[in-house]
């Protein structure tokens, strides 16, 4: 009697297990490899929308099956690390420059065969690297309210100007940029020795530097007039302008810290040919223009025709690009934990 009781009682369980196995096998079957498909992992939000519309859709119209995986950068990197040495889930991965550098340093990416990228020679040289194909870029520039800040700043020194005491705002996650900027005011002209800037940063803090944990917090402070000067991506400043705020940007004489988003091919990608098709689609005029129009990032392909007003606001002149600091990611990665701790303790 007891045995039949147990058997009957586990019937629902066995049915459930069967359902799980069925689910899984459906999932396996759906993932069988075919020549004309590519799996791309990238970040979501409006960036994902832009990529979907300007890169994925045209590719699918050309009969390439594109599967996108939307996830935060750290998750993507962790998955790549876990899959190292095994057939990979992704054929193309998207990262900002500092993550792409990390991925490469862990041996997760394969070098790009530049002969297979038709627009390679047209890419802005500042963003060329052997292990990825860049998509868009911007830079952390001085953002100011022209109603209160006059004359237009030409140097980072403006942040220390007593005229603007207590009117300077900094984003917490930009601590490396702020440290570098402070070091330029202490005489640093290299892409190392950022620690020279701590004294200057402390002085700025004592003069009333306000720090903000998120973009929205800083936006609100600028909108309300509490903050007149800050450092932010030009793309963000354009967004604020479109939303009706009166802000202007300038790349000072010391330069600017660039940021770029790019696509790479993992070493264990299973559809390399399709990956190159995708990478070429990233550099088409349509894709480059779409990013500029929708999310205000500048195209990496030189000579991309942008509408007149967009050109002046979103783009960077060759002279400005020349002034970009050549970020040594290894140096930044090595020191970031210590810098962050010190920023927390002394500057926040």
């Amino acid at each position: 009697m007891s045995r039949s009781m147990i058997r009957r009682s586990t019937a629902p369980l066995r049915m459930s297990l069967a359902a799980v196995v069925a689910f899984s096998s459906i999932a396996f079957a759906a993932g069988s490899a075919s020549a004309q498909e590519v799996t791309v992992s990238m970040v979501g939000g409006t960036y994902g929308d832009v990529v979907e519309a300007s890169i994925v859709k045209p590719l699918e119209a050309a009969k390439l099956k594109v599967t996108t995986a939307i996830e935060p950068h750290p998750v993507r990197l962790t998955k790549l690390v876990t899959e190292k040495g095994q057939p990979g889930s992704y054929d193309v991965v998207q990262f900002p420059d500092y993550f792409m550098y990390q991925a490469n340093s862990y041996g997760l990416l394969q070098d790009i065969d530049t002969s297979r990228i038709t627009a390679w020679k047209s890419i802005e040289s500042a963003f060329l690297s052997p292990y990825d194909v860049p998509h868009i870029f911007s830079a952390a520039v001085i953002v100011y309210d022209p109603a209160h800040v006059s004359p237009p700043p030409t140097s980072f020194a403006v942040f220390w100007d007593p005229k603007y005491k207590g009117r300077v705002g900094a984003l917490d996650f930009m601590f490396p940029q702020w440290l570098w900027m402070a070091s330029t005011q202490a005489g640093n002209t290299t892409n190392h020795d950022f620690d020279k800037g701590w004294a200057k940063l402390k002085a700025l803090k004592d003069a009333g530097l306000q720090t903000f944990p998120t973009q929205e917090a800083l936006d609100s402070a600028m909108k309300s007039g509490e903050v007149w000067l800050s450092v932010n991506y030009r793309a963000r400043a354009v967004q604020l302008t479109k939303a009706g705020m009166n802000v202007k940007t300038v790349v000072p004489k010391e330069g600017a810290w660039p940021v770029s988003f790019s696509f790479g091919i993992p070493k264990n990608a299973q559809h390399k040919d399709a990956a190159y098709t995708f990478l070429n689609a990233v550099l088409t005029p349509k894709a480059q223009l779409a990013a500029a129009e929708k999310i205000y990032y500048a195209p990496v392909v030189k000579g991309t025709k942008l509408p007149q007003d967009l050109e002046s606001r979103v783009g960077f002149t060759p002279d400005e690009v020349k002034r970009f600091i050549n970020v040594d990611f290894a140096y930044v990665a090595k020191n970031s934990p210590a810098w962050q701790q010190r920023w927390e303790e002394q500057i926040k």
């Binding site: 147990i6 009682s9 369980l13 998750v75 862990y106 944990p213 998120t214 917090a217 609100s220 926040k348």
Partner: protein, 285 residues
């Protein structure tokens, strides 16, 4: 019944399927994490097989992580405490209502759980920002002349966490309260007990198990909290769960992250067990 003992043992086997599922999807993965926690971290090379206590030592000797540990404990205990303090009256308030109102309010209680934690935390930020709803409101009424800094303070984090724990606590206490006949405290008072004593000596012991369960649950959930401490505590109030994520995802230091995880789990479980046992002991006083 004669074969009372045999069904008992046989019935135990019904728990077997769950055991198997948990073995392969919980115990083994955690064992893997425990194994990683004694590995060595090599920057750039990621992880090297080893049997070193270095990660644990680092966690307990580095001042930053000591602070993180203590902060996590204090905030979790405080959140649970606040949630219980507010939850008990709320459960009592529900008790005196008609069935229709009660069901409506209990449904309303579940609404916060429909909102994804990230969005809920973003809502708190919009409320508590220096330029947020609360400050704008107070400034407009001239109650204050300068915005109050709510975010990145412990009280704000505790309130936000307690608010997300309240549904669990209220339901926990409410379900126990339901088993307490309404007339009980009246009977006590008829027999001469003042209302406060009636509550303390008659009702409270009966609902204490529900309170303890609710508190322990809130404590455990707070220890694990990720999105809320991240967005509201910011970098001023650092808790272990966001720290683990940073170690894994930004620094790729899996051994250290694993060690922090094990410490967190062991602490949660131990403290919960201690609190539960201590509460059970008090009942016999």
């Amino acid at each position: 019944m004669g074969d009372d003992a045999r069904p008992g043992r046989q019935l135990g086997w019904l728990a077997a399927p769950t055991c198997i599922v948990l073995l392969f999807s919980f115990v083994f993965p955690l064992a893997l994490i425990a194994r990683y926690s004694v590995n060595e971290f090599v920057p750039g090379q990621l992880m090297r097989e080893a049997l070193t206590p270095a990660n644990y030592v680092r966690f307990f000797t580095d001042a930053l992580f000591q602070r993180v540990f203590v902060t996590t404990l204090v905030v979790s205990l405080a959140s649970g405490f606040v949630a219980v303090l507010v939850g008990i009256p709320t459960a009592f308030a529900l008790r005196g209502l008609s069935a229709r109102w009660r069901s409506a309010l209990i449904t309303l209680l579940l609404f916060p759980l429909l909102v994804v934690t990230v969005v809920r935390a973003a809502g708190w930020v919009a409320l508590l920002n220096e330029r947020g709803a609360v400050n704008s409101f107070l400034l407009a009424l001239h109650v204050i002349s300068e915005p109050i800094r709510f975010l990145r303070t412990a009280p704000a984090l505790i309130v936000a966490m307690a608010s997300s724990l309240l549904p669990y606590i209220v339901i926990s206490i409410d379900s126990v309260l339901q088993a307490v006949p309404r007339h009980l405290e009246e009977a006590a008072m008829v027999l001469g007990a003042p209302p406060r004593a009636a509550f303390r000596y008659v009702i409270l012991p009966l609902i204490l198990p529900g309170i303890v369960t609710g508190f322990v649950l809130s404590f455990i959930l707070s220890m694990d909290a990720y999105a809320t401490p991240l967005l509201i505590g910011g970098s001023a109030i650092r808790m272990m769960s966001p720290m683990i994520y940073v170690q894994v995802s930004e620094l790729q230091n899996w051994p250290f992250a694993s060690a922090i995880s094990i410490v967190l789990i062991v602490t949660s479980v131990t403290l919960s067990a201690l609190i539960t046992v201590a509460a059970a002991q008090r009942k016999w006083r």
